[in-house]
Amino acid sequence: MTPEQRWSWLLLAVVAGSLGWIVATRVQPAAQPVAAVVAAPPLVDVSAQTLGGAVVRLSEHRGQVILLNLWATWCPPCRAEMPLIQAAYEQYRDDGFVVLALSQGEEAATVAAYVRDAGLTFPVWLDASGAAGRAYQIRALPASIFIGRDGTVRAVYRGPLSRSVIDGTVAPLLAEPGGS
């Protein structure tokens, strides 16, 4: 066997091994809730206000797959992702998916007008003081935090979401068993 042939076989072996690793490490639902094996607070809870003024907490949605979206009406990338988030919400909400959009530091009237014009049907809350952003160490908008049914932050995305990112993240989380 020539050195060239040996190298070709080595290349084939590396490609085969790499593909095996890629398939083995693909995103798939966890067999058990992640919080069960992680000694950490399962949920960074935050409170906010609805557009009607009621105080609400993130923990009220425990058990659901949550997309916590930090945004503002003045932020163009935030506006750009909203139709895609709305479409994903409509597709997955009956499976236990909820979008909680936290407007950062804005007036209720401003946000309500945008929500009406954009036709958003998921909960949109007001985070007047930016407490959620601090709690989740987010300092640029938009940012999205995907929380599993067990209450742990499973993925963080900085920047506007595309549909493929939402689908690829939410679908495996929805397939996981519920948290304790």
Partner: protein
């Protein structure tokens, strides 16, 4: 974590600052190692190409969003670059500048590759400290608290891997390999890095049927590097591009 550096009225993102510092450090190391007048131009071209192509590739892989609103291409964010494409574009830019300026492309590529791992380790540590590279939750004893859970210190893994690559390249460089081999080995190493660590990245959400697209790009780098390293009976002068 230290995501922001507060300097008077300014709140500066430490992750971005670290990346800028690493890019500057790489360009200085590259120019010093290349010791060729074309290196300065090649460094600038490589950085510009990396930013533009990395950003463009990211937009193309998220076309549902960027196609509907192309103005998004103008918003630069650390998370919104496609690093494998940026790496490839930087290599190509160096080759083009070398040919334009009459330098040996393989020699410049080798110098660029040898210069990269240490700044890469710095950038990785910066992303760890700024919280821009959150790992997946784990119960391992060296996990770090981040985003409400104990997580893999992905930035530390990346930094250590870059230092291992630096050691390997340094060892190889002392053996005075043929021109282009250092760059090929470095590219192989970068591919392995993407292949290994992407599954632990909690911010790596670009997938197709659950498969991380960046891992496939890493495999592409590995294949390209192995093809470049393939034993050949061609005269050495052909392989050097000179």
């Amino acid at each position: 974590m230290y995501p922001l550096l507060e300097l008077g009225p300014l709140n500066l993102a430490t992750g971005g600052l670290t990346l800028l510092l690493a890019a500057y450090w790489w360009s200085q190391r590259f120019e010093r190692r290349a010791a060729h007048p074309a290196a300065a131009d090649a460094a600038i071209a490589a950085l510009v190409a990396a930013v533009l192509v990395g950003r463009l590739a990211f937009g193309l892989t998220h076309w549902s969003l960027y196609g509907a609103d192309p103005a998004l291409f103008l918003a630069l964010r650390i998370a919104e670059f496609w690093w494998p494409a940026a790496y490839g574009a930087a290599l190509l830019a160096i080759v083009l500048v070398a040919r334009w300026r009459g330098a040996a492309p393989a020699a410049l590529l080798d110098a660029a590759a040898l210069a990269l791992p240490w700044p890469q380790a710095l950038a990785s540590l910066g992303l760890l400290l700024s919280g821009d590279a959150p790992g997946q939750p784990t119960s391992l004893p060296w996990a770090v608290p981040m985003l409400g859970a104990l997580r893999h210190p992905l930035g530390a893994y990346l930094a250590l891997s870059a230092l291992a690559l630096a050691a390997a390249l340094g060892w190889l460089a002392r053996r005075q390999p043929p021109p282009g081999r250092l760059a090929a080995v470095a590219t192989f190493g970068q591919g392995v890095l993407l292949l290994l660590w992407e599954p632990l990245n909690a911010a790596a959400l670009t997938t197709v049927a659950g498969v991380h697209v960046v891992q496939l790009a890493g495999l592409g780098l590995i294949i390209g590097a192995m093809l470049a390293l393939r034993p050949t009976t061609r005269p050495l002068a052909d392989a050097t591009g000179s």
